[in-house]
Amino acid sequence: MSMSKSSYSQYNRKNWEDSDFPILCETCLGNNPYMRMMKDKHGRECKICERPFTTFRWQPGKGARYKNTELCQTCAKVKNVCQTCMFDLEYGLPVQVRDHELQIADNIPKQGANRDFFLQNVERTLGQGDGTQPIAQIANNMDQAAHDRLRRMARSQPYYKRNAPHICSFFVKGECKRGEECPYRHEKPTDPDDPLSRQNIRDRYYGSNDPVAEKILNRAAAAPTLSPPADTTITTLYIGNLGPSGAQQVTEKDLNDFFYQYGDIRCLRVLTEKGCAFIEFTTREAAERAAERSFNKTFIKGRRLTIRWGEPQAKRAADNSNYVTPVPSVPILPIPDGLAPSTSSQQRFTGSMPRPPAPPTFAAPTRLVVPNVRPVKAGEPSSSSSSIYYPSQDPTRLGAKGDVIE
């Protein structure tokens, strides 16, 4: 059977692809908003399915090499990848990394009639939709944690260094005569023993033996993680590397402005001379969220903040037992559930079990979550009235929402 366009498409659904615009990632498009592209109808065969497709060629910004599309659009849509660099369109990560994180075992046929039949079915599916829905296995993966992990691995900015010209092979041999005029890079070549110098299109596309993916996965595995402590009463985070005290130091306001997005902040103490801060959230969930989302990637005033979990207060309280002085004016009342002073041995109640009344003792509690007594001011007669003091009544308290009344 001849490979001419007309007769071929009559007997088989395997059509020659014609398109108006390529499917590309941001990096491959480059930083120039005024770009010109050359279109070559049925210009080359797809590197994966070997069918002719419409290629595009363009220069992604100043000083970049000309790039062109390598895959046909059907192949690109099957894997949701860029037609040129074959990285995932959403995250800019290799297919192998994405499939590993999302647990996609995509065993699509790689050659011969099986491949052609598979692509024929894919094209039929694509023809039914409006072209915006994802297809294949990517479509039905909704694992949010995996997507979060991928987002963390992905670059936040397009990586234009990838568009740089190739290294001049003549320069490597020491015989490039073009000198200044040479459009290729005059640089030391990469080590040939480096696995990164052995990449190929098919492995990248099918997500197997991809050295780039291996590197990214290794780096992700080696990255430090912040595991929340077992003691669930801890809601305090330590924040370090605020810088030396002075105008350049990260201020309380900076921290508050950044961390309030994760939940209500109960207390924020900045130790200016030590260059660190302790931030206490009202809920454990907020603290966990803050730790997870801000760890190792929080930049304020150009500094990467160190984030760690606060130590259990019980340990510190044991060191100095007069950490909380008992106040005799407080009437003995059953303490509200959320404000109960808890020791590390005492677990928080979750059910509606009736609590035993607090023992009428003035022994120092090992840990006090919120001082539920009004701070005694000097000169003010200590009233022995039995009105309950709620922390939210105090306008000068940190984290208060209302206006401060002097």
Binding site: R36, M38, K177, G179, E180, E181
Partner: protein, 147 residues
């Protein structure tokens, strides 16, 4: 092709003043011969014709200057040189237009031959290009022939 052969093809005796330009044209002819016989090994495909274009430009420029700038040759001799193809009439026609005074070759202003309907990179004035970027146009190896 030697100068004598070219003269024989015109089938007319050269006009008055031929003796003035003959030695220079002989030299150009020898240079062209040398460029033609030079081996192409180690050269890029586009580079091969660059010396031919350069000598062709220089020779046309010589005839052009002798007639229009210095006025040392007669109109008959100038036209004889054009018919004998010692000078490129098309190129000289461009040189008479404003902005094209130093045009390197006719190929570089042929917009139909480019992808986006533009002239060659050597037609971009130096002031509009990057200072550090060195360019050599693919057609004739021109660095810049405008502004």
């Amino acid at each position: 092709m030697s100068l004598a052969t070219k003269l024989r093809r015109v089938r007319k005796p050269p006009p008055e003043g031929w003796d003035l330009i003959e030695p220079t044209l002989e030299q150009f002819e020898a240079k062209m011969r040398e460029a033609e016989t030079e081996p192409h090994e180690g050269k890029r495909k586009t580079e091969i014709n660059w010396p031919i274009f350069r000598i062709h430009h220089q020779r046309s420029r010589y005839i052009y200057d002798m007639y229009y700038k210095k006025a040392e040759i007669s109109r008959e001799l100038y036209e004889f040189c054009l018919t004998a193809k010692f000078a490129d009439a098309a190129l000289i026609a461009k040189w008479k237009k404003q902005g094209y005074e130093n045009l390197c070759c006719v190929k570089c202003v042929q917009t139909r031959d480019s992808n986006f309907g533009t002239a060659c990179i050597c037609r971009v004035p130096k002031s509009k290009l990057d200072a550090e970027r060195v360019i050599e146009c693919v057609h004739c190896g021109c660095h810049s022939c405008s502004g």
